[in-house]
């Protein structure tokens, strides 16, 4: 029996990497491979059982059976150094590390952590022989750092279940009443409030859209506060523009309320300057909401041909793209149909097959498969 033990800085609920880690464990078990999840911090409500680095006994785990250690790299953490010292063959799964420059003026301590993460990722080339990436964009970064064996394994996401939650009827009724009273299109974006997610560009785009096309349009920003200073600046900016009634900061919401926002949205719009993958783009497709996105980093790879990608995050360009999608019913229908196909192409059967193939290759190369 072989074990693949997964190591990550934080194992948390309602977190894309946490959910992915739990899904990887399920996939490995279906292959007859066991393994623990070991995290620097295990947040209550995490999607699976896990132990902390402090309590883990790696030497004992390695002595019990042949092991492969798999580290999920997404930020700077002392856990990466702990991982580097583990006995036995190692691989990493790279979920991208946000470039520090975007966060530096807003949250300098986070920027330091991210820079540290990039340095750790580079130093792990001498430790981890195999590297998985959840997009070709991320894989290219690994190759540039000198990783010799790489493979793309998309995030294990049950795309068939992305729209399975019933929308909160109270929230739906409120949103419908608002739409009925003032009219106007509803724009939606889902992500924590962070400078590189560029919610400020979305507010600018809304201002341009209201100016040029639809004076009653609204923007809903769903997601908790990732940077308090950025969130404060956004609030002040919205007030300065006089858009308090047009922009809703919904915060982090339960799945049923999120489903209500998706149900009432006319268009999902992203101006994000950095995405390693972009799960909410797929959530929008799952809810049949057409996508308009600034084609930065891994966004084009995730969206494929199922959204309108624009080359600039200029407010006028985003506004015109939103206008086109809102007004062109044939385009909307086409994007919705393409979105469904896109979800199939990135669904669990495809991503688990990619993971199985990659794990099999790694275990073969590590001489662990035949034991």
């Amino acid at each position: 029996m072989v074990a693949v033990h997964q190591v990550l800085p934080v194992f948390a609920p309602r977190d894309a990497i946490g959910n992915h880690t739990a899904a990887v464990r399920r996939c490995l078990r279906s292959m007859g491979i066991g393994g623990e999840i070991i995290a620097g911090e295990v947040v209550p409500g995490a999607p699976d059982a896990a132990q902390t680095v402090r309590r883990a006994r790696p030497s004992r785990l390695a002595a019990e059976e042949p092991v492969l250690w798999l580290y999920h790299a997404s930020t700077g953490s002392p856990v990466a150094e702990w991982f580097a010292e583990l006995p036995g063959p190692k691989a990493i799964d790279y979920h991208n590390i946000t470039p520090a420059d975007a966060l530096e003026p807003w949250e300098p301590h986070v920027a330091v952590e991210l820079r540290h993460g990039r340095r750790q990722l580079a130093s792990l080339t001498g430790v981890a022989r195999w590297a998985l990436a959840d997009s070709a964009y991320n894989e290219a970064e690994l190759v540039a750092l000198g990783y010799e064996w790489t493979a793309v394994v998309p995030i294990l996401l049950d795309t068939a279940q992305l729209a399975a939650v019933e929308p909160d009827p109270t929230a739906v009724a409120e949103l419908k009443a608002r739409k009925a009273s003032t009219g106007g299109a509803d724009l939606l974006f889902v992500s924590r409030l962070l400078p590189h997610k560029r919610q400020d560009d979305l507010v600018k785009a809304l201002a341009a859209y209201r100016l040029g096309f639809d004076p009653a349009a609204r923007l809903t920003l769903v997601g908790g506060v990732g940077s308090a200073r950025y969130a404060d600046a956004l609030g002040d900016f919205v007030a300065d523009l006089g858009l308090q009634r047009a922009v809703t900061f919904a915060g982090s919401v339960p799945p049923a309320q999120l489903a209500a926002y998706f149900q009432l949205a006319d268009v999902y719009v992203s101006a994000s300057a950095h995405e390693g993958f972009g799960v909410p783009l797929l959530e929008a497709m799952a809810h049949d909401v057409p996508v308009v996105a600034y084609g930065s980093t891994a966004v084009p790879e995730t969206v494929g041909d199922a959204g309108v990608l624009v080359a600039s995050s200029s407010p006028e360009v985003l506004a015109a793209a939103v206008h086109r999608v809102v007004c062109d019913s044939a385009l909307r229908d086409s994007l919705v149909a393409r979105g469904r196909r896109r979800l199939q192409s990135l669904g669990l059967p495809v991503s688990t097959a990619a993971l199985r193939a990659a794990v099999t290759s790694i275990l073969d190369a590590a001489g662990l498969a035949a034991r």
Binding site: P105, G212, F237, D240, D305, A311, E316, R324, A330, A337
Partner: protein, 334 residues
């Protein structure tokens, strides 16, 4: 259901933006105005300005010893307050040392900045306080940029004559100009011209954000290393199929004052051909330009012997300064 061609949709969206801008639905400088509004609320250091970042570092070098104690659970807030009080002697001691260290580092960086400034003064990296001769390149540049895939930037554009000509020809054109008075004059004429340097503006753009870039003015006096860095940024900002045009007064058209005080000189057309090809662009056109603005000014009419003097001045202008102005047009491969 028939399949929709998304690239055609993207082109139509770009055309819609162009039409709305031309119609005034999107006023000139809207994006700039919105950016400036948000910048008011951004913390110091968001820009790449050295003084701005240094000010942010100074502000953050003070380490607060009084940690927040608020909590949604009142007993926890009480415990935090007690801990803060009992730990104050320790936390303050450590915070003072970290503050002292951060302050010293910030001071050292500031001193380094002063040294760099002094070095810049010696090497004249700054813009010369002079107006270089200009050239009307619209006859070549406007047709060369027709139908490019996206917005067209003219950097640095002066009072925006070429921006106006491009816009009149249907291009979605805007400009940047570091001389604020010139930028303001252009903006007052209804053109989308922003006060910025070519280098700073191109550095802020996302890759492939533009359909066309015209470089002029600064390329004639920047140091060669800066010109090459500018070309790097311009090529990065161009979308596949986009066009880069460089216009220059040519090496002979530089006045002695500019020649003596500028860090760089205008390149020969052949040099630009080499530089742009080296950046992976396909050279589409190298055209001689006429109409270099005269460097030597005529004497006022009515001055004794004005006719003879001005005829000689015209000949000197033609002989010394005209004749090698040019435009080089290159295309980024798709």
């Amino acid at each position: 259901m028939s399949e929709i061609d998304l690239s055609r949709i993207q082109d139509e969206i770009a055309e819609e933006v162009r039409r709305r801008r031309a119609a005034g639905d999107f006023p000139p400088g809207l994006e700039q105005e919105l950016d400036a509004m948000f910048a008011k609320y951004a913390p110091a250091g968001t820009s790449d300005d050295f003084d701005d970042v240094l000010a942010a570092a100074e502000a953050q070098s003070f380490i607060h010893a009084d940690v927040p104690t608020a909590s949604q659970r009142r007993p926890l807030a009480y415990v935090k307050r007690v801990l803060r009080k009992t730990m104050a002697w320790y936390v303050r001691f450590v915070a003072q040392q970290v503050t002292a260290f951060a302050g010293t580092v910030t001071r050292a960086v500031a001193l380094l900045g002063h040294r760099v400034e002094a070095l810049e003064r010696v090497t004249l990296v700054s813009r010369p306080p002079l107006v270089a001769p200009t050239v009307d390149a619209s006859a070549v540049v406007v047709p060369a940029l027709a139908g490019v895939p996206g917005r067209v930037l003219h950097a640095e554009c002066g009072t925006g004559a070429l921006v106006g000509a491009l816009a009149a020809a249907g291009a979605d054109a805007y400009g940047v100009e570091p001389v604020e008075a010139a930028a303001m004059e252009a903006a007052q004429a209804g053109l989308d011209v922003r006060a910025d340097t070519a280098m700073a503006h191109l550095g802020k753009l996302a890759p492939a954000a533009l359909g066309g870039v015209v470089l002029s003015g600064c390329v004639d006096w920047l140091a060669p290393g800066d010109v090459l860095a500018l070309v790097d940024l311009a090529v990065r900002a161009l979308a596949p199929g986009g066009v880069l045009a460089v216009t220059s007064v040519g090496p002979r058209a530089v006045s002695p004052v500019v020649a003596d005080l500028s860090p760089g000189r205008p390149f020969h057309a052949e040099t630009w051909r080499h530089v742009l090809s080296g950046h992976g662009l396909e050279i589409a056109q190298v055209a001689a330009l006429s109409g270099v603005a005269p460097v030597l000014a005529p004497v006022p009419a009515g001055t004794p012997g004005a006719d003879v003097l001005n005829a000689n001045i015209d000949r000197l202008n033609a002989e010394l300064f005209a004749g090698d102005a040019y435009a080089v047009v290159a295309r980024k491969p798709r």
